[in-house]
């Protein structure tokens, strides 16, 4: 059932192209904005990691805001509730869809970042970047889906989505930016700090379980 729902999500996204292109374009635009705002041609270390994660986070917010809009406006929720399936199937399908959007976003944004702003060559940092990217994406997908479902049927959904998600995602930003910073250092790029990966993994686990536990209550009417 999850796979059928996921297939529908990805099919809708492929046919409408509503989220992913916008998210990717937004991230690249943020890099340009930061170039002028900071008046810097190249960045390295903690600044580079911070700006990469701010751009990814804000671009992810666009995807989160749109995640359930079609279901709320065009009767997708009603159709789903009529089907004899577990309600958490929708959570998993949406979270996997958001995870896929984030991965495509990063396929565009990370090379663009290496091209536009990053001082040290991206190639040497890339293998190490994979673990923090994937772990942060899992947390973003879990919290993003939960927050999107919370906010979508309120009057001020575009406002409430980011307002709820950003404080909740501060630990992800801490973990991801700290884990990435040594990889992007100009001199003596360091290895992955395992402590931060462990923080991210703990966050993913806790909020994955929380989202699973409370999601059903959001879909009752």
């Amino acid at each position: 059932m999850v796979l059928a729902l996921l297939r529908k999500e990805l099919l809708v996204e492929l046919r409408t192209l509503e989220s992913v292109p916008g998210m990717s374009l937004f991230a690249v635009t943020i890099f340009v904005v930061f170039h002028f705002a900071l008046n810097q041609n190249t960045l390295s270390g903690q600044e580079a990691a911070g700006i990469l994660w701010v751009a990814l986070l804000l671009a992810a917010m666009l995807g989160v805001n749109r995640l359930f809009v079609a279901d709320a406006d065009q009767g997708g929720f009603d159709g789903f509730l009529l089907a004899p399936v577990e309600r958490s199937a929708l959570l998993f399908a949406k979270a996997l869809a958001l995870l896929a959007y984030l991965l495509v976003l990063e396929l565009v944004a990370v090379p663009a970042f290496g091209l536009l702003l990053l001082g040290p060559p991206l190639g040497q940092a890339l293998p190490g970047l994979l673990a923090p990217l994937v772990l942060a994406d899992l947390g973003l997908a879990a919290i993003g889906t939960l927050v999107a479902a919370l906010a979508v049927r309120t009057r001020a959904r575009d406002l409430l989505g980011p307002l709820l998600a950003l404080p909740l995602l501060v630990p992800v930003v801490i973990g991801a930016a700290r884990a990435t910073a040594p990889l992007l250092a100009l001199e003596h790029p360091g290895g992955l700090p395992l402590r931060w990966l462990a923080t991210l993994a703990l966050y993913d686990l806790v909020f994955g379980l929380i989202a699973y536990a409370v999601f059903d209550f959001l879909l009752e009417d």
Binding site: L150, L163, V170, P171, I210, L218, D221
Partner: protein, 226 residues
């Protein structure tokens, strides 16, 4: 409406605050390094502890609401979070004053407890906007409960993450009451009890007011005033 329990609670709170303030100013010794300013510790730290416990309490009451579907649990959860937000604002203000007096800055990023508290405060500040953006009262209660549970789980995790990220430039003033001299520890515990009583009293008043308003509404509906 007669509320005899509320009156007793209010009197106890007033007495406890009197005792705690006299202990703070006349019994507890002046701290050697920071001097008189350190007295704000007896206000700031109990407020922070009570406010965080109130957020977690709101989450537990939200679980009770989702389990039983009784509106009274949602009302309690709302009042607990609302009062904790007010206490939280006081925590940020007293913490800022303390930071200014002892470190010379209104805000210090390397004090992990204060920073985590700000993040938690910003998260809970969206509780009311979320709640009042939903019209249907039943769904409002359900969504608010989901938020309260998620946010309550976020409180400890956030403290772990921020504490890991801090660089520990400043020496920590308290690491549990065990490191304090006994006269300070005693004063601190009395202040904590007084603050907890204040929280309970204010929550009871708000609950009583809300219940009265609900009662009034249902009565006037029966009498056909609407």
């Amino acid at each position: 409406m007669r509320l005899p329990g509320l009156r007793a609670l209010s009197v106890t709170t007033a007495l406890a605050f009197g005792v705690s303030l006299s202990l703070v100013f006349f019994y507890a010794p002046i701290e050697a390094e920071e001097g008189f300013v350190q007295k704000i510790f007896y206000l700031h730290v109990p407020l922070a502890i009570v406010s965080l416990c109130g957020f977690v309490l709101g989450g537990l009451e939200a679980i009770a609401h989702l389990r039983t579907r009784e509106a009274k649990w949602d009302l309690r959860s709302y009042v607990a979070i609302h009062m904790s937000l007010i206490f939280g604002l006081a925590v940020l203000i007293t913490g800022s004053i303390w930071a200014r007096a002892s470190w010379g800055h209104w805000w210090v990023w390397d004090e992990p407890t204060l920073v985590s508290f700000l993040i938690v405060f910003l998260l809970y500040a969206t509780y009311q906007p979320l709640r009042f953006a939903i019209e249907d009262p039943e769904r409002q209660a359900r969504y608010a409960s989901v938020f309260a549970i998620t946010a309550a789980a976020f409180v400890p995790l956030n403290f772990i993450a921020v504490r890991l990220s801090a660089s520990y430039v400043h020496p920590r003033v308290l690491g549990g009451t065990s490191s304090l001299p006994s006269s300070m520890a005693f004063t601190f515990l009395v202040s904590l009890a007084a603050t907890a009583l204040l929280y309970a009293t204010l929550c009871s008043y708000e609950l009583a007011a809300k219940r009265t308003r609900i009662l009034l509404k249902s009565r006037s509906r029966i009498l056909g005033f609407q």
